[in-house]
């Protein structure tokens, strides 16, 4: 069976590629390399390929974009045709390592932030991946809430979009305050959206984790826009990929400041974009070249060295819609 496979195309973030090939992890630990290409090719290509037990397969592993930004983001860009679109196209691949790309017509400004395991359900009391039983959507219904779960069964916990919805709904009901505190402290077990099911509870610690994750992502988007000399008003496309690509409620995400207050019409949800890009790479005769061409247009920005990023991060911690002031002020501080 394995012997019948003729071609394999591998994309992933840099850390995963380094683990897969056993090469590149030392380079990745050194901050000096975080804006530079990381060589993740196996040291002994023939020996490495032999381990796959696919004697007839050509295994292609396009180089990651650089630093922690992997070839998965290049695949996203390929699948969404980011660089074919208008200047002001922003791509957000939300996950544990959230990667962001902004196409300004000439350059793809790219960065990565710890978007936080929060978005993938890790570190959240009742967090879980978008699997059967995960609450993926929350709506107010009279005095209670309607919880939609993957597969329709009993709620077992929240995936990323469900948590974003829950926090947005609790905020608009006044049960959560913009600071992230509950108006009435629910105690360590949290506030259960369905009082009969403890797995529907959101705790103060969950809200905190969500705030820090969404602030990192929001501040990174603002920073990239500044690097390109733009602000929200210049956005023509916003492609949301990754963990939120299926079911994110855009209005709710905007209400808590996870997505910018742009016209919902320019926001596109792309589920499994990096897989789609990987398939394009596999199926085209010039897959490697297409990845390399995209990588050549990428400029990586290391936010830990970007002036004003910390101020922006702190400014975006509150649960409220993003404001233009945060994007426009000189050093990220909104002066009163």
């Amino acid at each position: 069976m394995l012997a019948e496979i003729g071609e394999v195309f591998v994309v992933g973030n840099t850390a995963m590629l380094a683990l897969l090939t056993g090469h590149g992890s030392e380079a990745l630990v050194d901050p000096a390399n975080w804006q530079a290409p990381i060589d993740c090719r196996p040291a002994d290509e023939a020996a490495w390929q032999a381990q796959w037990s696919m004697p007839h397969a050509e295994i292609t592993l396009p180089a990651p974009a650089g630093g922690f930004v992997g070839s998965d983001l290049l695949a996203d860009m390929l699948a969404t045709r980011l660089t074919d679109g208008p200047p002001g196209s922003l791509l957000l691949d939300v996950g544990t390592n959230t990667e962001i790309a902004l196409w300004d017509g000439e350059t793809v400004h790219v960065t990565s932030v710890p978007g936080g395991p929060a978005f993938e359900g890790v570190g959240i009391r009742h967090g879980m991946p978008a699997e059967a039983g995960a609450v993926y959507r929350v709506r107010e219904a009279g005095s209670g809430y309607t919880l939609d779960t993957v597969g329709g069964g009993e709620a077992k916990g929240f995936c990323g979009s469900g948590l974003a919805d829950a926090i947005s709904v609790l905020l608009s009901a006044g049960k959560l305050k913009p600071s992230g505190r509950f108006a009435t402290a629910p105690g360590p077990d949290g506030f259960a959206l369905d009082p009969a099911n403890f797995r529907t509870a959101v705790t103060g610690i969950d809200v905190d984790a969500f705030q820090r994750a969404k602030a990192a992502v929001a501040a990174a988007m603002v920073q990239l826009l500044r690097e390109a000399g733009m602000d929200w008003t210049g956005l023509r496309r916003l492609c949301v990929c990754g963990a939120f690509g299926h079911t994110l409620n855009i209005e709710n995400a905007q209400s808590v400041g996870l997505l910018p207050p742009v016209d919902a019409g320019i926001i596109e949800l792309h589920a499994d974009a990096s897989l789609a890009g990987c398939e394009l790479g596999l199926l085209s005769v010039d897959g490697s070249e297409r990845f390399a061409a995209l990588a050549a247009r990428v400029k990586i920005i290391n936010l830990s060295r970007a002036a004003g990023y910390e101020d922006r991060y702190i400014d975006h911690l509150r649960l409220r819609p993003m404001r233009h002031a945060a994007a426009d002020s000189q050093n990220g501080r909104t002066h009163a």
């Binding site: 901050p31 975080w34 509150r318």
Partner: protein, 222 residues
């Protein structure tokens, strides 16, 4: 009137509402309250209250720590330039993240609180070599070196706090310069600060303010 201002300001800080906090400050200034009174009678008591609350309050979260420290630092910075006479500085500190470590936010909270407590802080940034900590402390006349490390290998590594301690020892500076550390690894192992040669550590950014002020006093009497 000051009581009312303190109450309104503390409420805004508790709600992490920077705009509201600044509204209170601007209103107080236009009502004739001096910038000195705003710092010493409004901002500093609010920081101290926050310090005592954080250790007691199970609901206090990290996002709020960041925001409250930021508000305190910004208000203090804006008031300091309006002071009739330069304020009396409690002491000087140099701060940075350990060699190889680019996690800057913990340091950020500490700096916010120190500024509000009238401690002069020099930020050496991230990924700071050991020699630079010592050289900067000497040239700035600082009495405390504060090193933040968020990863085990930067907290315990040879080029972080350990090396700073060695330099202090070699150059006979241990009486004059105190060394304080902070960051996640020190929370997991509360004795780790001793292993890496530090004089003290603090569990969170806000308490670090208190610990550092104590170290400044120790260095003065040493």
């Amino acid at each position: 009137m000051l009581d009312r201002i303190v109450k309104a300001y503390s409420e805004a800080v508790f709600e992490t509402d920077k705009e509201a906090a600044f509204d209170v400050v601007h209103k107080a200034l236009s009502d004739g309250v001096t910038p000195e009174d705003i710092v010493f009678k409004v901002v500093i008591p609010a920081v101290e209250e926050m310090m005592s609350n954080i250790t007691k309050d199970p609901d206090a979260n990290l996002a709020q720590h960041f925001m409250t420290a930021q508000i305190a630092a910004e208000v203090t910075e804006k008031m300091l330039v309006k002071f009739a006479h330069p304020p009396e500085i409690v002491g000087r500190v140099v701060i940075g993240t350990a060699h190889g470590d680019l996690h800057s936010l913990g340091k950020r909270i500490v700096m916010g609180c120190l500024k509000a407590l009238m401690v002069d802080v020099t930020d050496l940034g991230v990924n700071v070599p050991a020699e630079r900590f010592v050289d900067a402390a000497l040239s700035d006349g600082a009495s405390v070196i504060a090193i933040s490390a968020m990863m085990v290998h930067t907290a315990t590594g040879e080029n972080g706090a350990r090396k700073v301690r060695q330099i202090l020892k070699d150059r006979g500076l241990e009486e004059r310069l105190k060394l304080v550390v902070g960051g996640a690894p020190y929370r997991f192992d509360n004795e780790l600060y001793k292993t890496v040669g530090a004089d003290a550590w603090a569990a969170d950014g806000v308490n670090a303010g208190r610990v550092i002020v104590e170290l400044i006093e120790q260095a003065k009497t040493a």
